[in-house]
Amino acid sequence: CTIDTFIQSIKVYTMPLPRRQLRRVTFAKVVDFARCYVSAVPPRQRRQEVPIFQTQDSNPLNFGDRDLGKVYVTPRQAFAEVFPHGLRTAFMKEVQSCGQAGILIRKPALDIINQLKKQNRFDTSLKFIINGPDGCGKTLTLAHVIQYCRRANWLLVHIPSVFQWVYSKQEVRHSLHDPQTFDQPDEAIQWLRNFRTVNSSHLATLKTCGRYTWGKAEITKAGSPLGNIVDQGLQKPFYATDAIGVLLKELAQSRGHKILFAVDEFNGLFGPTSVRDPDKQTVRPVALPLYSLFPLFSLQLKLQSLNLVTHFQKLMNSLPSESSALVTALSRRGMFHNSSAGFGVRDLLPKWCLDNVKPYVSVRVEEYTEDEMTTVLDYYVHTKWLVSGYDHKRLIEIRFLAARKPLAVQQICATC
């Protein structure tokens, strides 16, 4: 709705006034009135002067190969709607100070998105594992894919940080559903809240298949909207983790709806935790295939596991094939008990996990190329992140010090 159409509508629908009143009501006054009323509506999009390094429009749906190497910009508010939890600290600081999130369009992200676009033709669900050296853009590649899926109206199941669950210092409780396992109510509630913010439109339309009893009295009937389960978890903290389990089970069974399962720090789901239970023992996530193959052993192994983790592990096994995709990013930074020098898929994920996740596509995210470096520095100068500007000599210095790694480039530019 533009101002012009609104004003035209006023012209059509206003009653004819007597002459003496007409003199008082001039067209300018009508326009002023209309502008006040219509201020909430954005003005007609003028062709704004966009810098060379920026894409013309910032809709991820429209990006193609010609946009490779350009930065697309999301205003801070819109970014917070898709990522209520935020992303990496360093990037969020940049978003905070620049007032917008600028993500470079790089080949790995576009490759994944192109695959997702073609997905209708394939039977098996697509699984991507984004890996690469530290600080090179794995999380932001994931963020780009998430933004695309959001615009394409997919349902987003996004774990922003597995390490926050698995190395948390928050309270851990024995699960009401299965006393030998452990719940994390604080993390679960936060996740459910974020899930609701991001997917509010979908939660009303998707319906449950099964019937669930919460505790003694409360029942969620089959066919009720998924939003009920989320609300159940939010209202009753002790059931929050179970609510997540139910939610994921339902989503695994859903057909037709496009779902994106996005997990950052995927390797955290399969390694040791640093969570202590009330008896000061370290809690371990359970290795799932052993559970499925040896039910007898599982009784012993089932001791001490984190439910949040096992819910998502189970999900990996049973993704709905035609309409969903799993896109995960690994992270070596922040991983406890890690002595591997490498950062590839085989270095960070145990073999039994890989066997479970096959067939997967390994997507490698590396350091900036020369062109990407200059684009990014242009962007930083434009947003005054790099305050003192740069020239050829400086570019060489930054390249030397940062070894073309995106995170290091950002940190060095912040201090310049």
Partner: protein, 391 residues
Amino acid sequence: MCSGSGFDASCAQIVCCSAPFLKSRVKIYYKSVGRLAKMMSRDPDTFTEKDIEQAIRYLLPTSLFARDAMPSMKHPFEIYHTHLLEADNFTEDGKPKAAAFFTGSPEYFDLIYEMYQQQEQVKQMEAKKQSEDSLVYLHHASVDHGQLAENTTEHTRDIIDESEMDGEDFGEESPSVTTEMDSTAALALSNQLGPSRWLKKDEMSLKLAAQLSDQQYDVIIARLEDLLCMAGSVVVKDFLMGFRKEIPPSVQHGKERKLDKAGRAYSSGHRKCAVAQVWVTEGEGEGAIMINRQLLFDYFPKLDDRQQIMYPFLVVDGVGKFNVLCSVSGGGTTGQAGAIRHGISKALTCFSESYGPILEQAGLLTRDPRMVERKKPGQKKARKKFQWVKR
């Protein structure tokens, strides 16, 4: 101190060697000493210099504080240095030629006066120039401050391609257009004077053919500095150069370094307890740095350490143009970074003759001598003391 009995004998000796001028002076001196002793009812034979001083203080009390201004009675030898007493310095009548002879150091005071004359010359030049410039100044509407705003304008791809713009090094600002004439003039002058230093005290004494005291030397240097800082001091450049000594381009201390057959430069570097062996070669494209078989970024996660290693290349304007292979052991992270930096600097001197002086000026060729200070008994650490207890 000559006693009364030995007076005639020593006087005879003196009379033989030195000018007739001095003869009378010495005679007068000894007579005065005798009289003074009698005034104080003392034996002239046992009257020492200290007694003379006390007597004069008593007889001629003064409220002055400057020693030079107080009345004193000194032996002529102490007042007139031997070199002044050569026969050439006196006319046939026995009168001294130099106008400032009786100050005791005529060369010093003559120099002071000469500097004053030079100053007057410079001031005249300045006054003349100002009157010329005032006409020119009226034509210029405003001073161009464009250079100051250079770095804050928005960049596009086109600007980056210009190679004329100078890069900034770690936040140092390029000299902007200022209106302080003194600093720029002095800068210009010091450039014309070349790398040089003021003469030292003994050199100055040689030049003036006089003995200078420390205070006299300090005064001369201070006045010369003032002269140098004046705006129009270009005029007196020759005069000033007479008091400056050139600093020759530094000779490399230590071994003379060469490239080996493969075109590599090897050197070792040290800092604290860390020892680095460094091989530097000219690289093509982006220079690669390997430390203990790891990349620079992996071996030194801290930015400061990487900056230290970049510093020699920055100084020499060769960032990314050299490959470096090094092995380092001992010490901690910062020590190792410093050792590698030292090694790189020493190795870089092989590649061009001009690199050596620049690196030395930057202080990169000096092995940092600071080591961990030992712990002392009775103290907690090297400097930290135990907690002070009142009782």
